[in-house]
Amino acid sequence: MSLEKQELLDLKSKIGREPTSTELQIVAAEWSEHCSYKSSKKHLKMLPMTGPLVINEKGYDSGVLDVGDGYVVTAHIESHNHPSAVEPYGGAATGVGGVIRDILSAGTRPIAIFDGLRFGNIENDLQARWLFKNAVTGIADYGNCLGIPTIGGEVEFDECYENYALVDVAALGFGKKDNLIKNHAKKGDLVVLMGGSTGRDGIGGSQFASDSLESEDRSAVQIPDPFIEKLIIEAVLQARNDGLIHAMKDLGGGGLSCAISETADALEIGIEMDVAKVHTRESDMHPDEIMVSESQERMLIVTSKAKLKKLEEICKKFRIGCSVIGNVKFDNQMHVKKGKKTFANLPTDVVANATLLDLPSKKPAYLKTIEDEKKFKPISNYSKTLMRLIASPNIASKIWVYGQYDHEVGIRTVVKPGADASILRLDNGKFLSAKIDGNPKQCYINPREGAIGCFEEACRNVVCTGAKPIGMLDHLQFGNPNDPEIFWTFLESLKGLTDFAKSFDIPCVGGKVSLYNETPKGPIKPTPVIGVIGLIDKKPSVPQKILSDDCLLLVGDTKDELGGSEFFEYIHKFVGGKCPAVNFDDSKKNMKSVLSLIKNDLVKSVHDCSKGGLAIAVSELSMTNQIGCKVSLEKVPGEKLDPDRVLFSESHSRYLLVCDKTNLSKIETILKKNKVSFKQIGKFGGDAIQFFNGVKSIIDLSVQKAHKTWIHALPNLVLHGKKSG
């Protein structure tokens, strides 16, 4: 763990002397990319972070949204990529732990987990399979043990993650507004470290997250302990109820170094602490190790002397460690001692605020030609092609994943995973829905439009449940930012997200940047992952069973936009083509209209069109409802295109609506009034998925067969190494 030469000079000039070795460790941890955001911070400011529902308080690690009637929802997203790439089970599990503690530190109870998983090509890469399987088990074991439902996520495979893993975890919390921790400190207050013991595991972890894998510190493996985390949650919430917490912060990357310096800096106080008071796992730990250890399942709490006894009783009840490690001063210094001896004494603003960088950027050369298409072999049998896509790892049902996650615990889950977005009920009679989405294939081709597309897709998924998007989380994952071409893609994505957020009035309530995601073969594709939170005031749209004769409508234009599509990449093995672009006006109209149809109870089911295009979206409706469907391609709204384009284009802003035929004319009236592009494209019935081009049948698949393939493809591949389709 070390500082760059320039940073060392900076540090010396800021403190006017040589730093001690402990000071160097502390500063190196806090000034790492992971903790300081030094490459990205300047630019992140462009995102809109305020709004009528957003509650901003100092020192929060999660975003807070006011959902009315005295209640708030908190939200946060994190990744644990490097640790998961070397130890998928522990890395993914401790990723869940970290984001949960961020939710907890605002004083809210975590109520939902989301996981976004990305690996290499599992069809032929055994290591990717091993990473995937173990990451899923890690998330399952951790979330299930905590009793927090994992209600959504995504899984994607792409060659760019070979020998690597992206594990993103988002979480939501819920609580009374009055119970939010108002971070503050009073004279004479104490600093308490509670939770698990501090050990050598994870030493160098946050530095590690900012290095590429080749220079990894292989000792940075973290062992998850969800049982302790569960006890911490209960202890903290009890302490919150008893008013024992003045300020709180979780220990994440950078360990005590970051937690102490950031808490002190946010509260504009000083903290004097004694490493000898920290409850350690091994007796011979050096102060430097204690300061940078990233042992999981720990929280830092500021409380008063008078309240300490009660806090200790709570910790004893829940059998977790509780040590007074320091006290609050008003000198704005972070003073680390062992007994009487000083090991570090630094101004907190110096530690907590690394010098921000202004990295150069340059448009990548590959983008010049990436949108050019080549000529493809014509498709001879569309039924076969559709079946192959249904069985492809990116499109196959993810039930093997979410079936291992307890998604019911907490008894809030109204719509379970498997739909576009899950729905949770809240104590004030409202409902919450959320989804995370990423699309590196599109972001690679066009970082700006791709990122906007992820954002819109997450919105669409939430809108399908009848919810209005009220907040967004962004997680920006890129390669080495010192490469100007990579940094350009970062900036483009960020600008795109900013434009969309501003135009749609969806504030960004939290996020995370993860850089240096490099594999032995080079940088990952740009992978922003966007979480959108939606609120439903009255009744959620719970999909109703589709019956024979129900009508299928498509809202939104289908365009010649197949760049980064599953069709191009999986069927034609082609990376490139025109990236789908969101038309903001159409997007808004379509969202608004779909929401109003749901509100007026006119539709039975709404499903968005995304990966795999119209053909897959229709198949999914048929398969999950066990009913056939007949679709006419020439009815599909948009310009006239060849059948392969209409079937598999991944144009945004499209929704499939299912309705009883008695509601058809009412729906048409509303959509026409809103000037939305739409058509009835088909009807349900029978037991086959059928697409017609004029009178010619071009796809005819048995629903049953398709369904079986779709459900079993992923476990067959992961567990038995069998390819389906």
């Binding site: 399952a140 079936g403 809030r412 889950t413």
Partner: protein, 226 residues
């Protein structure tokens, strides 16, 4: 009518169960921490689901040694209705209050899905409102839910009518598709599926009535004994 909900370190369905008892069935429920005792005047005891002690060593085994289990045992002997759900069932089995063991699911995975139960014994305090063979749509969520007993015990279970619930299909490899059993007296019942997740129509996509009968049975039973 007082119902005790026993809480162990790591229990995580305690609040869900409490909500159902108090807000849905308007019972007077109380939490009891595992280190404490149970009061004498209690009418029923429920051991909720979760991961007591992180499921370490074996699900339920560490919690089975908690001080409160001695009181649960005494209550069981007195004939007071006791229900263990999921981890609660595992604890009852590990503490010897119910026969058998719960092994890792045959899939080796944690399984969260909706299943159908068949009522095999409608004489217990938790099933007296059912018709025999009535079907209950209900979710499971467990990693160690495969019920197993040796042949001799199985014979005894059958002879004493101790099999309370079966899955309608093979779910996890349980002996004889067993999902829930009772003790010889019938007052102690354990089940792997989660009735507290199925009694409210808002979160039950299929039919919440059958699961409600589990709690209504308890109400009837307590009404009768009072």
């Amino acid at each position: 009518m007082k119902v005790g909900v026993v809480v162990f370190p790591g229990s995580n369905c305690d609040r869900d169960m409490f909500h159902v008892l108090t807000d849905v069935f308007h019972l007077d429920a109380q939490y009891y921490w595992h280190e404490k005792g149970l009061p004498k005047n209690i009418d029923a005891v429920i051991l909720p689901g979760g991961f007591s002690y992180g499921d370490r060593l074996r699900a339920g085994v560490i919690a089975a040694h908690s001080p409160i289990i001695k009181d649960v045992q005494k209550m069981a002997e007195k004939g007071i209705p006791i229900l263990g759900v999921c981890n609660g069932f595992q604890i009852l089995v590990e503490s010897g209050l119910l026969p058998g063991v719960l092994l890792k699911n045959e899939s080796l995975n944690f399984m969260c899905e909706w299943t159908n139960l068949i009522v095999e014994n409608n004489k217990t305090p938790f099933t007296n409102q059912f018709k025999l063979n009535e079907k209950i749509p209900i979710p499971i969520a467990n990693g160690e839910g495969r019920y197993y007993v040796d042949n001799d015990t199985m014979k005894k279970l059958k002879k004493n009518n101790q099999i309370v619930f079966r899955y309608s299909e093979i779910v996890n490899g349980s002996s004889d598709r067993i999902a829930g059993v009772c003790n010889e007296d019938g007052n102690v019942v354990g089940m792997m599926p989660h009735p507290e997740r199925a009694v409210e129509s808002e979160i039950n996509p299929i039919d919440n009535k059958p699961s409600s009968l589990i709690f209504e049975s308890l109400l009837t039973n307590m009404g009768a004994t009072k």
